[in-house]
Amino acid sequence: MNDIDNLYRELILDHYKSPRHHGRLEPADAEAEGQNPLCGDELTVTLRFGADGETIEEVAFDGHGCAISQAAASMLSEEIVGRKAAEVAEIGKDDTPLVAMMVESGTPLTPVRLKCALLGLGVLKVALHKSAGTPLPEEWAGVEDVDFE
């Protein structure tokens, strides 16, 4: 959205206004909460696995934040259902749908907005690594839930 007349604006706004896989799954097999300390955005992810214990059967994001953070989580959620948890945990920063789309469009997100866009992937990684018992890669440590109260 560097150029707000960008063709992709509509898609981002659509996901922002009608987020896919929105809400919380209860009970859930994995969950995590994260914040973007810059703006106070908060996001929670809950996941359910299939009978094999490793296929993501359902995912839900819940929270509030800017169009970029909410749309990025929504677009990501569409991409990961039916995939193996271990494989999803390896998704790189540039491979999330919204970030990749903006790079392709020639108007990549600025470093500040990139943080918004990666909040969803960050909490997802926290949830997946927590449930698998694997260590969260250091570069993602910043998103993990910080308890205020």
Binding site: M1, I4, G40, D41, C66
Partner: protein, 414 residues
């Protein structure tokens, strides 16, 4: 100082002093409505910085050669300018710091660690910037003192009625209070809290980061014990700030940081401290930055703090009037008469980040976020706001562009 009769400033003329506002290649003209985060610099300040480095640069308090003497004289002259700027009694009461945050931390640690303990109360407010909140919370935790806060109303004003009850069950030792809220622009009646602190036998620390650049500050009239502000918010360079401290308190305090420049005599057995204010300036200070801050003080005084405050008041009135007409826009903060040049707001259904980005595409810079004010944001029931803030170079046309940008944001998200 005699009251100026003709206090109206000419923002268009002032603007010509600021290179940042010169047209840049292809871009839209800059409507900079984020001076509360940091202000731009006039040529006079940039020239002072360059001139000092080119002709008078040296370290201070060390060399005996003429160049070092010149540097030292310029640095101490800047201190005297800062002293007169806040009406301190002597230059010894003026310590150069990095910024407001460092000044407040200096008091929290150098005074707090030696004077606070179990049963003591440190009182701040819900309006405080994190820099006048977290150091007190932390030093209270370390000393076993209790950290309490004065609540704010939904309009962002302090609830001063229940102060006695607020400090019941403990000894009030320190009150930390901002003179102007960085998020909402609330002009705080600090005199009341300073008076209350002194009645209770406590000291009062004032965060003047958002006050000193915009209105006259007089530490003797306020009768505060400490007062901190930053150079970069008042047209000075980054990396230099000022801490005023009452001499008797400064004298009794241990140093904050130790090292070179702040000692009288060092031996293996014992070290004694330099006289004020050098006791609190360990290591090479921001020499050139302090000199340029002196130039910024001259610049602001040349225009007049009253004229600056009046100009910002006019722009704030204009902005509040136009923004109240925008559907779905919520304004935060107190009524105009108790508000500095800061307007915090939200547009329904649009996150402040998105508002700021759409405004940026129109060349309008506003701040979006929690403004280092998370307890206050929680009180207002939001995670963030957008904030426009004005300074001596701000123009009514920029308010118009802000309003047009907000209308555009509403269309984009409609």
């Amino acid at each position: 100082m005699a009251v100026e009769q003709n206090v109206k400033l000419d923002a268009k003329r002032i603007r010509a002093d600021f290179p940042i506002f010169e047209p840049q290649d292809g871009g839209k003209p800059l409507a900079f409505l984020d001076s509360a985060v940091s202000a731009h610099k006039p040529r006079q300040v940039l020239a002072a910085l360059e001139d000092f480095y080119e002709h008078s640069y040296g370290n201070v308090g060390r060399g005996v050669y003429a160049l070092a003497e010149r540097a030292n004289a310029a640095y101490e002259e800047a201190r005297e300018k800062a002293q007169r700027f806040v009406n301190a009694r002597s230059p010894g009461e003026i310590v150069f710091t990095r910024n407001t945050t460092e000044g407040l931390n200096l008091v929290a640690y150098a005074w707090g660690l030696d004077n606070l303990g179990p049963g003591d109360i440190v009182l701040a407010s819900e309006l405080e910037h994190h820099s006048n909140f977290v150091p007190w919370q932390e030093v209270a935790r370390r000393t076993g003192a209790e950290f309490r806060v004065v609540p704010v109303t939904s309009e962002g004003e302090l609830e001063l009625d229940g102060l006695d009850r607020l400090v019941a069950g403990g000894r009030l030792k320190l009150v930390a209070i901002t003179a102007v809220s960085n998020s909402l622009g609330t002009i705080v009646p600090v005199e009341k809290l300073i008076g209350f602190a002194h009645e209770q036998g406590a000291i009062a620390v004032v965060d003047a980061a958002q006050a000193a650049p915009h209105r006259a500050v007089d530490v003797q009239a306020l009768n505060c014990d400490f007062l901190a502000f930053s150079g970069h918010k008042m047209c000075g360079p980054s990396g230099v700030g000022v801490l005023y401290g009452r001499r008797e308190l400064f004298e009794r305090m241990s140093p904050f940081q130790t090292g070179g420049g702040m000692i009288r005599r060092v031996s293996v057995e014992k070290t004694t401290w330099a006289e004020l204010p050098h006791k609190f300036e360990a290591g090479t200070p921001p020499v050139a930055e302090a000199v340029a801050l002196g130039a910024a003080i001259d610049y602001l005084k040349g225009i007049g703090l009253e004229a600056i405050a009046a100009h910002e008041h006019e722009l704030t009135a204009y902005a509040l009037e136009l923004m109240a007409e925008i559907p779905g826009l919520t304004l935060y903060g107190p009524p105009l008469e108790r508000r500095s040049g800061i307007v915090s707001f939200n547009l329904e259904g649009i996150h402040p980040h998105d508002v700021a980005q759409i405004l940026d595409a129109e060349g309008v810079c506003v701040r979006a976020g929690h403004h280092c004010n998370q307890p206050l944001m929680r009180k207002l029931g939001v995670s963030a706001t957008s904030r426009a803030s004005f300074y001596l170079y701000s123009l009514p046309e920029e308010v118009d562009r802000l309003v047009a940008g907000l209308e555009r944001a509403r269309k984009v998200f409609a």
